[in-house]
């Protein structure tokens, strides 16, 4: 219990009904005036003139060049240092890779037989949840062997197994430091915000500059990419511990060190394990994309096949990645959910540690098996199955029967919807945009928020890529609107019964674990390349949070309020629109906020299939190793996302507190 009931300050100036309706209208007014008068405006108000642009890119590049070539710490340069770090990473990588797939030729030791890997994964799944998870894990590992993806998938897995603990460890330490030192938290949280909204590619370019391209560069990029979520969840987890638990620790006479290691960290165990789950999934997503800087494995295979438009084979790799994502997610999730239970006393070692015993048995049996038959250690090539012909057949079938309708749909969308909207967007003067976010920020959160969000937009405008940014904004806007149009009804439908809600959650969970790159495969299959394909990919990927939050929001409306509605004689429809929807709306807006973030991530990846926006520029920067450009453009994308994020979360928080939901 807190010490004293806080008195909530009552608002003296209750706005009248007119003022209430006029406020949102007023906030778009400056924007509308500037937008409609666009033809009359002087050129400098439309687009920041070349002469005014601030050379962020040159500055960044100068700094990077300085780091790369000049910065010396006594005996070595910064680049030497980064390369040295990269060299360190090859050790654990070689160890895990050797264990899983390549063996240790130097000492004549073979890799683990595939039966053993599958068996151990099965036991792990079984011990963490139940035999079904064990069967899933073992089955998926066996799939890799039987369908000829063994080597690729084990290379990818070994990157994840090396990168995840390192990233998790670093993120964990940063999180602890942030919780213990307020100044550090104040410094690191904004940085984490930006890092988590930077597109994947922006991480790759500096890596390519400082470490070069190749497998280890990909691994390092993966590690760096996965640090922020762990740091954030560590902070959340440690702050979420009940004050009483901390007081119990103090009253027991804990020193600060004992407090941290014996009370706080164990008590936050569950939140920390959720962080580990996030880290693993981020690692997998990144290692697929890191194939652009030469990381080997499934992602590289997928990229290669997509580039040569071998859709069937690409799908095959895609399925392997998806299976790996599902297994990794389910295993780490099960670990987070597992609760300790008491053991019966005075039982045998075998009964007390059943899974350790089974794991040992699995190892022994598989070693014996592989001594008897080589088939148990390496799946024979001549027995390898391939699903590629099946997928190719599917693609051919779609092309044969749906080519015309798909073509019409694509052209129609492009001509009558997308191109006109794009035209509209490209006419937005930068001054109008600044005015819009500034007024919105001011009315939602005062001058501080207004300053922050207009700062973001000004950065984008003065970085000199205004038109490209508008194209990105247009694609994201269209995609997000469609996500809402499609996702909201699905969410409402799914929220009707407990069973549907569970199903929706399962699907959302599953689809969200897939690395975003995967979503390009079906859209290429259907729409080849271009805006329609890109927007479709964004929609599939970004719709997930809208659905998830809609279901969550609608299901979590306080039950007594719903019952009050029912007893007042509401029909189902009235119940939805008069009670559930208004109360769930702040939550749904948070979902839409996430959708915008997801859309921004995807729009950049969609550069791979030929868009004309900022993503394409970043993509080009990657090809030319232009780290400055890649970073500045990445920041532009991040700032777009953060502008939307700041405004929406401010709105949602205000709305929630007004509804008394927090």
């Amino acid at each position: 219990m807190s010490a004293v009931a806080m008195e909530r300050p009552t608002r003296a100036d209750a706005p009248g009904a007119f003022a209430k309706a006029a406020k949102p209208a007023l906030s778009v007014l400056p924007f509308l005036i500037l937008f409609l008068c666009a033809p009359l405006l002087p050129g400098w108000m439309m687009k920041v003139p070349q002469a005014w642009t601030i050379p962020f890119i040159d500055w960044t590049n100068a700094f990077i060049d300085h780091l790369r070539d000049d910065a010396l710490f006594g005996l070595f340069s910064f680049r030497d240092f980064t390369r040295w770090i990269a060299e360190l990473i090859t050790w654990p990588l070689a160890l895990v890779e050797g264990l899983l797939v390549s063996g240790f030729p130097a000492i004549g030791l073979p890799a683990m037989p595939w039966v053993m890997t599958a068996g151990l994964c099965g036991v792990l799944g079984w011990s963490l949840r139940d035999w079904r998870l064990g069967a899933l894990a073992a089955g998926c590992v066996a799939y890799m062997a039987i369908f000829g993806k063994w080597e690729l998938s084990m290379i990818t897995l070994s990157v994840v197994l090396v990168a995840a603990p390192i990233a998790g460890g670093i993120g964990f330490l940063l999180g602890i430091l942030a919780v213990k030192k307020p100044w550090f938290e104040a410094a690191i949280v904004p940085v984490l915000n930006v890092l988590q909204s930077l597109p994947h590619f922006s991480y790759l370019i500096p890596i390519a500059v400082f470490i070069g391209v190749g497998h280890k560069a990909g691994t390092i990029a993966t590690i760096i990419f996965a640090i922020p979520p762990m740091a954030r969840l560590t902070i959340l987890g440690l702050k979420g511990i009940a004050e009483e638990i901390r007081e119990a620790g103090k009253m027991a006479g804990c020193t600060r060190f004992q407090m941290l290691w014996m009370v706080e960290i164990p008590a936050a165990r569950q939140a920390l394990l959720v962080g580990v789950n996030q880290v693993i999934m981020q690692c997998l997503a990144m290692v697929v994309i890191a194939s652009f800087v030469g990381a080997r494995g499934l992602g590289h295979d997928l990229l290669f096949r997509l580039q040569s438009l071998k859709i069937g084979q690409a799908l095959e790799s895609g399925v392997a990645i998806v299976l790996m994502a599902i297994v990794l997610d389910q295993l780490s999730r099960a670990a987070a959910e597992k609760q300790p239970s008491h053991l019966a006393e005075n039982t045998s070692w075998l009964a007390r540690f059943p899974f350790v015993s089974i794991a040992i048995a699995v190892c022994v049996v598989s070693l014996v098996l592989s001594a008897i038959t080589p088939y148990a250690s390496v799946w024979p090539t001549e027995w390898t199955l391939s699903t590629a012909p099946l997928w190719d057949g599917l693609v051919d079938w779609i092309t044969l029967y749906f080519f015309d309708p798909l073509q019409y749909f694509r052209d129609g969308m492009l001509l009558y919807v997308l191109i006109p909207i794009r035209g509209l967007f490209q006419q937005i003067p930068w001054t109008a945009m600044v005015a819009l976010v500034a007024v919105a920020g001011w009315s939602l959160g005062g001058w501080r928020l207004a300053l922050i969000v207009s700062g973001f937009v000004l950065f984008i405008a003065f970085a000199g890529f205004w038109e490209r940014s508008l194209i990105t904004a247009y694609m994201v806007t269209v995609a997000v609107l469609l996500c809402i149009l499609i996702g909201l009804p699905i969410g409402i439908w799914a929220s009707k019964t407990e069973r549907r809600a569970k199903l929706a959650k399962l699907w959302c969970d599953t689809f969200q674990t897939f690395p975003s790159f995967i979503y390009l495969i079906p859209v290429i299959m259907l729409f080849k390349v271009g805006d329609v394909a890109a927007i479709s990919a964004i929609i599939i990927y970004a719709m997930i949070p809208t659905i998830r939050y809609t279901v969550f929001g609608l299901r979590n409306v306080p039950q007594d309020i719903v019952e009050a509605g029912i007893t007042s004689g509401c029909t189902q429809r009235q119940l939805l629109w008069n009670i559930r929807m208004p109360l769930a709306f702040p939550e749904i807006m948070l979902g839409i906020n996430q959708t915008i973030m997801f859309a921004l991530f995807m729009v950049i990846i969609a550069a791979f299939i030929g868009t004309k926006d900022i993503g394409q520029e970043i993509f080009r920067a990657l090809t030319f190793n232009d780290a400055g450009k890649g970073l500045v453009l990445g920041l532009c994308v991040a700032f777009m996302g953060l502008t939307a994020d700041k405004l929406i979360t401010a709105w949602s928080a205000e709305r929630k507190s007004r509804l008394g939901l927090v």
Binding site: M1, S2, A3, V4, A248, G253, A267, P340
Partner: protein
């Protein structure tokens, strides 16, 4: 009489921009109006009391009255703004971090409203935790933990995890943990408030049984006046951070110091709280009747005699000497007249 185990003098805890400076500007005694006008929140306001060895002091108040903060100021989980807290004659507020850790490891135990058990440790490890942090060896601390677990009636559950236990059982673990180090001073912060009424009653009995064996000095927080009456030696009633009245339950009921206290006590069943002594008429010394009643008997226990006897009944003390008489009229008045007995 011996020295108080723990005492506090003019204890203040204010929340706001500059509590210490604010207090200084008002010479250490701002009025509640001044506090509110300046946007400060007073959690503890000029509180002073002593707790004697072996005594149970119950601090009672509604939520937001500052009782939990007061307890946390005594244990220095919360740093008071001003005042002093003397523990066995030593100033707690001057203790360094290390001295504080040492005190808590040896002299204090605390039970929390929501149990505050460590979810990743078994019952045994939870109870042994305070011993573990002070560096007691495994064998010794587990033996001690088993003893305390048996004392609170949880023998056989040592290997369980907190989430596998019911609320009442969890609080027994909490109690066992707070007793593991053998503290002199025992803080209980609404220990039974999170339990349902039947379990609460059972736990109060359990608590009284333990206290009979252990004889600790106790500061017990509750918002439940019935609970306060059941367990307390003395009760302090708090409102807006200040103590309205401190006294025995009988004193609070028969002589409430403020209207607030009177309101609190008006619905208390008096027949189980007041003793004959508090309502009897004094009388001149003479030889008491054979069927005299005892002065410290509760009113409820003499109800039958009152109904069946026309004349005033003689009241005697422990030695059998006459101290007064009880007549039907004053008995009825005490029970049903809302005015306190005159």
């Amino acid at each position: 009489m011996s020295d108080p185990k723990i005492a506090c003098r003019n204890l203040w805890k204010l929340y706001g921009p500059d509590p210490a400076g604010f207090l200084k500007r008002h010479d250490g005694h701002p009025t509640i109006e001044a506090i509110r006008a300046q946007g400060y929140i007073s959690a503890v306001r000029d509180v002073s009391f002593d707790v004697m060895p072996g005594e149970i002091l119950v601090v009672m108040g509604l939520s937001g009255s500052g009782k939990s903060t007061l307890l946390r100021c005594l244990s220095r989980l919360v740093e008071p703004t001003a005042g002093e807290v003397m523990f066995e004659g030593r100033d707690m507020l001057r203790a360094t971090d290390n001295e504080l850790i040492d005190l808590r490891r040896h002299k204090m135990g605390m039970v929390f409203q929501n149990f505050a058990l460590l979810p990743h440790r078994t019952v045994l490890d939870n109870v042994a935790f305070p011993l573990q942090v002070r560096g007691t060896g495994r064998q010794e601390r587990e033996n001690r933990a088993r003893e305390v677990i048996e004392l609170v009636g949880l023998k056989g559950r040592e290997g369980y995890y907190p989430r596998e236990l019911s609320g009442g059982q969890q609080q027994r673990v909490g109690i066992a943990r707070s007793l593991a180090v053998g503290p002199d001073l025992w803080f209980l912060d609404e220990p039974f408030s999170a339990l349902d009424p039947l379990i609460r009653k059972e736990m109060q009995d359990e608590f009284l049984r333990l206290q009979k064996v252990l004889n600790k000095t106790i500061v017990f927080i509750t918002h439940d006046f019935d609970e306060a009456i059941r367990v307390a030696d003395r009760i302090a009633i708090m409102k807006d951070g200040a103590i309205e009245q401190l006294g025995t339950a009988e004193q609070l009921v028969t002589r409430p110091a403020t209207p607030y206290v009177a309101k609190f006590t008006e619905n208390i069943p008096r027949d189980r709280l007041l003793s004959v002594r508090s309502v009897m008429e004094p009388s001149a010394p003479r030889k008491p009747a054979k069927d005299a009643i005892r002065a410290d008997a509760l009113l409820a226990s003499v109800a039958r005699r009152i109904v069946t006897t026309e004349r005033p009944i003689d009241v005697v003390d422990d030695e059998g000497a006459l101290v007064g008489t009880l007549d039907r009229g004053s008995y009825i008045d005490a029970l049903y007249d809302q005015e306190p007995a005159r």
